[in-house]
């Protein structure tokens, strides 16, 4: 029985090629692995190896022929033991070249889900009962301690988290309580230890990885995105990474361009991640507990300046906040101001100043950036008809740009003015005190932005 040799595809994009040269003649015996021909594509000249055995009985495409389509029969082998039979030609014909494969289903069959944004009606904030004032630093430590007490699979690792008690004293006391197996000092090698934590998470452990700042996590961002965020999808749901990445994000105070960047839009861009950005102590406690419990990779963007700030925080043992829910910090009627992290405080001060001028601003604390609580923002804008976003990071493709677009999509007709963005200036953050101050959003910037549209 004759077996056809087909024009092979030799690269992901090849649809046709030139049959440059035959290295075997009709009548010659061919063994598997023998080079039988040379093919030229736009990329390179490549050799074609035989996969079948037997005598070459006929050559169907002469050498020198250009534009030979993939899967065209180019020769026939007439013999062999028949055990390693070549592909059946009918099947080959039904298999289109790689790049021309038409989608089997209509695109309409796949409705793009608003995966990074919920559009449901917002629910009111739960009342958690009594509160007391604690610092954001204490809230973060308590969140880790509570979750480590509750679950032996949770552990903390990072630079200076154990014996030094934390570069910013967030992990104070944890080594004493949980010991060196669960509170682990790492060398200053973000790439390696982040990959190690991701591997541990793939087996079901629940690491908390502290980055001394998120600026240093750039060394490890391949492991965060390519390994932690994508594995669940690439494995068809078999294994993912229940892991928390946390640390200070954004500007601190005169630490220069390399230690002052906001990574909110970088991480919020990626499917497979959740991203939260606490402002108050309650945010910090409730969101970090939720992050540690979450079976997905969660980025917790903290702020160094806020660590020492005190806020009232629920004392209930089971206090936790849902990821994906924003909080209306101050109700208002004339304009919606959306902020996250340290900019929530700036927005609230601006609202206070605006009130003195007779303007009632509603301030939304996003808490989560991915999934984004679009519903709460939309509800608010439908009431106020005006939107101002405030963020410390750069404007281009930033969180403010995304929120403005969400508002276009969901409530364009309710807007009485174009949305306005307040953001850090589009420059690497300078060191000089006056320059740094000029580059970061101030209360007056927010007031001015509101005054432009109200």
């Amino acid at each position: 029985m004759a077996t056809q040799i087909l024009m092979p595809a030799l690269s992901p994009t090849m649809t046709e090629g030139k049959l440059a040269r035959w290295l075997k003649k009709v009548g010659e015996e061919i063994k598997a692995g023998d080079v039988i021909a040379e093919i030229e594509t736009d990329k390179a000249t490549m050799e074609v190896e035989a996969v079948d055995e037997g005598k070459l009985s006929s050559i169907l495409v002469e050498e020198g022929t250009e534009g030979v389509a993939v899967n065209t029969p180019i020769a026939e082998i007439g013999g062999g033991d028949g055990a390693a039979a070549a592909p059946v030609p009918q099947k080959a014909e039904s298999a289109p070249p790689v790049m021309e494969a038409p989608p089997k289903s209509t695109p309409q069959a796949v409705a793009p889900l608003p995966i990074a944004a919920s559009a449901a009606t917002p629910e009111p904030e739960k009342d958690w009962g009594p509160t007391k004032a604690i610092t954001v630093r204490e809230a973060l430590r308590d969140a880790m301690a509570m979750e480590m007490r509750a679950d032996g699979d949770v552990f903390l690792m990072g630079e200076e988290v154990a014996q030094y008690q934390g570069a910013y004293k967030i992990s104070q006391g944890l080594l004493d309580e949980f010991g060196p197996r669960r509170v682990i000092d790492t060398p200053i090698t973000e790439h390696g230890f982040t990959g190690m934590a991701v591997g541990a998470a793939m087996t079901g452990l629940k690491p908390i990885v502290e980055f001394m700042t998120f600026n240093f996590a750039m060394q490890a961002i391949d492991q965060i995105i390519n390994s932690a965020a994508k594995t669940l999808y690439m494995s068809g749901g078999q294994m993912g990474a229940p892991i928390t990445f946390r640390g200070p994000n954004g500007a601190a105070s005169r630490v220069g361009a390399q230690h002052s960047q906001c990574y909110a839009s970088w991480y919020a861009h990626c499917p497979g991640l959740k991203v939260v950005a606490p402002w108050s102590s309650a945010d910090a406690l409730g969101l970090l507990r939720a992050a540690i419990r979450d079976p997905n990779p969660v980025i917790v963007l903290e702020n160094e300046i806020l660590y020492g700030h005190s806020f009232e925080c629920p004392t209930a043992d089971d206090f936790v906040l849902p990821i994906g829910k924003a909080k209306i910090e101050r109700p208002g009627e004339h304009v919606t101001i959306v902020a996250f992290s340290i900019m929530v405080g700036v927005a609230l001060q601006a609202a206070e100043a605006l009130a003195e001028q007779g303007i009632s601003a509603e301030v939304i604390n996003l808490r989560s950036l991915r999934p984004l609580d679009t519903a709460t923002i939309v509800e608010s804008v439908k009431k106020t008809s005006r939107l101002v976003t405030v963020e410390e990071g750069w404007p281009f493709a930033g969180i403010g740009a995304e929120i403005a677009m969400q508002i276009m999509e969901h409530c364009f007709d309710w807007l009485d003015a174009p949305p306005v963005r307040v953001h850090g200036l589009d420059v690497p953050l300078p060191y000089a005190a006056n320059l740094e101050k000029l580059a970061l959003p101030q209360v007056s910037w927010v007031v001015d932005a509101v005054r432009k549209i109200v």
Partner: protein, 319 residues
Amino acid sequence: MGKDDLLRAYHDMLLIRRFEEKAGQLYGMGLIGGFCHLYIGQEAVVVGVQAALKPGDQVITSYRDHGHMLATGMEARGVMAELTGRSTGYSHGKGGSMHMFSKAKGFYGGHGIVGAQVSIGTGLGFSNWYRGTDNVSVTYFGEGASNQGQVFESFNLAALMKLPVVFVIENNRYGMGTSVERASASKDLSKNGAAWGIPGLQVDGMSVVAVKEAAEQAIAHCRAGKGPFLLEMKTYRYRGHSMSDPAKYRTREEVQKMRSERDCIESVHHLLTEQGVDEAEIKKIDDAVKAVVQEAADFAQSSPEPDPKELWTDILVEA
């Protein structure tokens, strides 16, 4: 290795070879797309190491991964169906050649970023250490990855914490088209962990017997809590880096010489003959392997493509 072990190794290596040949064939027909990195030539490495492992041990590697999957016992049909992008593939068609996983078989991928699996594999060893088991993580990477920064970061972490990780460098001489001589200032890669006190061995990776012996030594070291071990397997890939490889960086004679003089399957065939196994018994294995591979290829072509709804599943675990 006794007769039964050799027969098993012969079967396992032949399964990988025939599987890869079939995959190359389906690629040529346009049924497999994208990147497809074949393992032909290197079969003795995974088969020899796997023979020294026990249940609960973990395996992780790069994108030249089909052989590792088959060695851990993952089914040929599920791997082939993933290659053709079908719903019955190990990742439901969402991973492809470079991204398959099996928790049940201890296989943790299938990673496409050169070197990334080395720190993840160190984390698998960390997990064994954290949980107090005596399992080990076998972390494979090529000589091309061996100079990645995170590989050395991982050596340091594993040695510092005495993690049970067997680092296996599959030195097949070429990182894509660049020979190891042109890419690595270190000439004896088994000594690459020396700065961290990681013991290493250079092993004839074309001999399944030598691989198994070295793996047993390395694994015993790790199980005893003595920290990581490094094995450099001197091996060779017969095919190109991926399917589109013009193969101008080495001579055809070099490839032919390895194939005819050092082939890992042929040499086991020879050992079996010496031990008095007759050709009929070997032919029976050949036929059985061919049947499994043909069945896998049929399954991979007849299975349906993933439902469009699969686009939106497995992005996040629903809490």
